[in-house]
């Protein structure tokens, strides 16, 4: 039986994430344009960019939910396959919760992996601040609570890499704070986090390094402090100043 309090597995075995010449086309439109990037650091990598820059698409391509039109994604040298994907979890911007109770949403994932573990489920719900609501229908939770449940469900898979697509885009400040705290705890357990956000404040609070993309192209990949202090690209500079970037 897994010990709920033990540190999660380190990300060392899945990293580096190597993206080479990645492209994604829809018809004539090139939405991801020749992105090459290697992420080898632990901690939280934040993918930033204006709306429509291709951040969520890039995350889906990294996770293998979409098949690239060209290029390659490799995790520690391995192509995307079931084994590498099972070691990741993705939290969507709009949580897709099952038509079941809060607890049953976690149980479903636990059963699919190691078998049902009530202690682990309760631990996850306590960490997410949802233990009291465990018997409630998941879809009757508030938006923030639903997102926390989606995060707890993702963590139930004990991922080595946690991918998040704008998890706090439409939730209240208190839930945002709780989710950010959960992400910090998860980082401390050695889980690599790749977070998509267009919230500059959130990126400043959480990022260890920043990938900035614009119009489907990689503009820069820097340690967070460097990126926020002296962005190299004009687009990133304009974005950080709050100007509209086209």
């Amino acid at each position: 039986m897994p010990d709920a309090s033990r540190p999660m597995p380190g990300a060392a075995s899945l990293l580096p994430l190597e993206i080479s010449s990645l492209r994604y086309d829809v018809g004539e439109d090139r939405l991801i344009d020749n992105i090459s990037l290697t992420i080898d650091s632990s901690g939280i990598s934040v993918i930033m960019g204006a709306n429509g820059a291709g951040k969520s698409l890039l995350l889906r391509l990294i996770h293998g939910l979409l098949r690239p039109s060209g290029g390659d994604v490799r995790w520690n040298g391995s192509a995307l396959n079931l084994a590498t994907r099972q070691r990741q979890a993705l939290v969507f911007q709009k949580p897709v919760l099952m038509r079941r109770s809060v607890a049953a949403n976690i149980d479903f994932v636990l059963k699919s992996r190691d078998g049902q573990d009530r202690q682990r489920r309760d631990q996850l719900l306590q960490e997410a601040g949802l233990y009291r609501q465990r018997q409630q229908p998941a879809r009757l939770l508030s938006g923030g609570e639903q997102q926390k449940l989606a995060l707890a469900r993702a963590l139930a898979t004990e991922p080595e890499v946690l991918l998040l697509d704008e998890p706090c885009a439409s939730i209240d400040s208190a839930s945002t704070l709780q989710i950010e705290n959960l992400l910090r705890q998860t980082r401390e357990r050695g889980v690599k986090i790749i977070l998509v956000t267009h919230d500059i404040g959130q990126a400043r609070r959480l990022a260890d390094d920043v990938v900035f993309i614009h119009a489907g192209r990689l503009r820069e990949y820097q340690p967070a402090a460097t990126f926020f202090d002296s962005p190299k690209s004009d687009e990133a500079g304009a974005y950080l100043q709050g100007r509209i970037v086209i």
């Binding site: 979890a89 099952m98 079941r100």
Partner: protein, 235 residues
Amino acid sequence: MQDFSNAFGLAASLIFSADADLIEIIALSLRVSVSAVVLAALIGFPLGALTAVAHFPGRQTLTVTLNALMGLPPVVVGLLVYMALSRAGPLGWMGLLYSPTAMIIAQTILVAPIIAALSRQVIEDIHKEYDEQFRSLCIPAHRVMTALIWDSRYSLLTVMLAGFGRAIAEVGAVIIVGGNIDHLTRVMTTAIALETSKGDLALALALGFVLLILALSVNAAVYSLRASARRLSYA
């Protein structure tokens, strides 16, 4: 009009006096139709889920076939089951002809395509919603199918209701394979057919009212179940 008022009176007296023959006919009708619907659901739900979720050669053909089989004529099904179960037929050794089991088999064949085709649509809708999340969580295919069936259970109840409606109201197949034998294979619809042919329209209408009340009760029960599930966001 005289027949209608007589029928109302007769139906009420049959129901309130708990007429033994009527109870026996209702019980057998329910036993046959409910058994057929449950069996058809056991066949139809996985088949519906398979055609909704899986990609395999012939999927389109199977979907079109299931849709077409929704309109199976009961008498044709009755005839085919009759030929299969008759003494000279391939299953004649089982001695099932003119038994409730034969009626259940015939109704299962009639109802299974309805349940499969309608559940495919229900499960396809929920699959669209869950698909990306399930793929992200790397849920195995068999667990995806069972989860989709379970999570659409309240909508599938309505699908079962459609199957039940077809089964309980059906006369052509059960009269051929059951033979309408008193105290053995006589159900509501065959009894109505018999009484009509005998000219006892009041009794036939009375039985018809009982059948309607039965169908209304089952519908109301399922409706209220779905309504409470919807309140809890489970439907």
